[in-house]
């Protein structure tokens, strides 16, 4: 059984502006949960609260509970750095470390974890790259710079980098918004395979993508979770008028 995230009464601020106005949501184990909504609705902020990335921005604040299984990630004494090791993140724009090779990008998190032995590193890097469906394309170019890859490959490199440290949860913040349809299809296929082993939450402004990859969907609007439910039902019989308007393209 995988790990789940249980969010209770989550509120988040930038300075004095309240971005999330009390969100309750469950990211179910070994499934994909999609977060959709128009720009500025707080969906990125929401996902960034799940691994305590939100607070790295000056002036940002969070209140409420985020439980990983039964452990409160915002309890006093919890180290955000440890949280981020267990809950990996993939960002909107591919962001491999430009000063590192393909190999070193993937190994970056492992080295931090104290793994030094060359053979062990090689094993783990290969495993992560295979996992991210990138191994066959880069196995002869492991020494090349991470930024020399194509955009889609860079994003899969970033996924491999996140997977290398064996996270319990993978958060993806609009991972395909900078990619072409072919690269997008590859990532979606990858998401399909990955959910067998870990739990995924994905923010997307592409509703077809949400429908394709996710089991659960949450619809955000102006900092509130308007509707949450099984993806299929949400896209066929939305319970809220605003959800219906959004997914049928009437606004947003």
């Amino acid at each position: 059984m995988g790990d789940g995230i249980y969010v209770k009464g989550l509120r988040a601020w930038f300075g004095d502006t309240l971005i999330l106005k009390g969100v309750d949501l469950t990211v179910a184990p070994n499934a994909v949960t999609a977060i959709i909504g128009p720009s500025g609705c707080g969906k990125s902020t929401f996902i960034r609260c799940l691994n305590r990335m939100h607070e790295t921005v000056p002036g940002a604040r969070v209140a409420g509970q985020v439980l990983l299984n039964s452990e409160d990630l915002y309890a006093p004494g919890v180290d955000p750095v440890q949280v981020r090791r267990r809950i990996g993140m993939v960002f909107q724009k591919p962001n491999p470390f430009p000063t590192m090779s393909v190999f070193d990008n993937v190994a970056a998190g492992l080295r931090l974890g104290g793994i030094r032995r060359k053979s062990r590193l090689q094993e783990e890097v290969e495993r992560a790259l295979r996992h991210a469906a990138l191994w066959d394309e880069v196995k002869d170019d492991l020494d090349k710079s991470g930024v020399s890859l194509s955009g889609g490959q860079q994003q899969r490199l970033c996924i491999a980098r996140a997977l290398a440290v064996d996270p319990q949860i993978l958060l993806m913040d609009e991972p395909c918004s900078a990619l072409d349809p072919i690269a997008t299809a590859k990532i979606e296929e990858l998401i399909h395979d990955l959910k067998k082993e870990l739990t995924i939450a994905i923010v997307t402004h592409n509703m077809q993508q949400a429908a394709r990859v996710s089991e659960w969907t949450g619809f955000f609007l102006m900092g509130e979770l308007v509707e949450f439910g099984v993806t299929k039902e949400m896209f066929t019989t939305p319970g809220d008028k605003r959800t219906e308007d959004y997914i049928t393209g009437r606004f947003g």
Partner: protein
């Protein structure tokens, strides 16, 4: 406007920018050419290998001054570079608002302080208590000049690193200090080194703060707590002396100084080609 007229204006403006660029390079070429013309004749192997000769004797060199300059610049770098780089990273990465603002302001003021004031400071805190002029005092004065320059350029370069990289590191579970040290600084490396080279060129030619810290010396280096020779000091001493032979050596010394700075910049530039974000 007809296409022909537009092309004319375009060519005119391009020409102006080219002329301006040329104007910037001209003084450098003129100075270098003049130094070559005046000083090249005094440069020979002896000039790099021997001590200065007493007045009246021909020949001799500035080997001790070259060594002295290298030693003091080394001291200055050892003192100033870590402080400047780490401080610059702090200024760029700190989430606090007030302290960085104050530090930035102080650094800008320091950048504008005449170099002789740094000399007076080093004189007061090192020369007076030790009761002698020393390489240490000179190195400290130069190091203090180096700090604000390196600090501010490092800050600017670190700011140029996209925040996506910072987030990539943090998102991977790297602690803030490792993100700064392993990801941000390497990404800003080329820019930081450029700033460092500017600072190095500046302190290599500083004379005023050395007058009453290093003092100068006509002999080889005798320990960090002793007066020491430096190229700018030697040039100054030769230039104000009434002997033609010394004047020639002053020109030659200036030529050597500018060549060394040029070579150091070139080496740094070549060494940092390649992967870097900010430059």
């Amino acid at each position: 406007m007809t296409p022909a007229a537009r092309r004319l204006v375009s060519d005119g403006v391009s020409g102006l920018t080219f002329a301006a660029a040329l104007l910037v390079v001209c003084p450098l070429l003129l100075i270098f050419g003049f130094l070559l013309y005046q000083g090249a004749s005094a440069i020979n192997v002896d000039f790099f290998l021997h001590l200065p000769k007493p007045v009246g004797e021909a020949g001799g060199g500035v080997a001790n001054a070259i060594v002295g300059s290298v030693i003091m610049i080394g001291l200055a770098v050892a003192i100033g570079l870590p402080v400047g780089i780490l401080g610059g990273v702090y200024l760029a990465e700190s989430r606090d608002r007030r302290l960085p603002w104050v530090l930035r302001f102080v650094a800008d003021v320091l950048n504008g302080v005449p170099s002789i004031v740094f000399g007076i400071f080093a004189y007061t805190v090192v020369v007076l208590p030790m009761r002698r002029f020393s390489a240490l005092a000179g190195g400290l004065a130069l190091g203090l000049i180096l700090v604000p320059i390196v600090l501010r350029t490092t800050e600017e370069m670190v700011r140029l690193v996209p925040s996506a990289l910072r987030e990539a590191g943090l998102g991977l579970g790297l602690p803030q200090w490792k993100v700064s040290l392993r990801i941000i600084i390497p990404a800003a490396r080329a820019g930081i080194i450029t700033g460092f080279m500017v600072a190095l060129a500046r302190i290599a030619g500083e004379t005023a703060p050395l007058l009453f810290t290093a003092l100068g010396n006509r002999f080889w280096h005798q320990g960090l707590d002793q007066p020491i020779a430096a190229l700018p000091l030697q040039i100054y001493a030769y230039a104000i002396a009434p002997y033609d032979d010394w004047h020639r050596q002053a020109w030659a010394g200036a030529l050597v100084l500018i060549t060394l700075v040029f070579l150091a910049s070139l080496a740094a530039r070549l060494a940092t080609r390649g992967r870097s974000v900010a430059r």
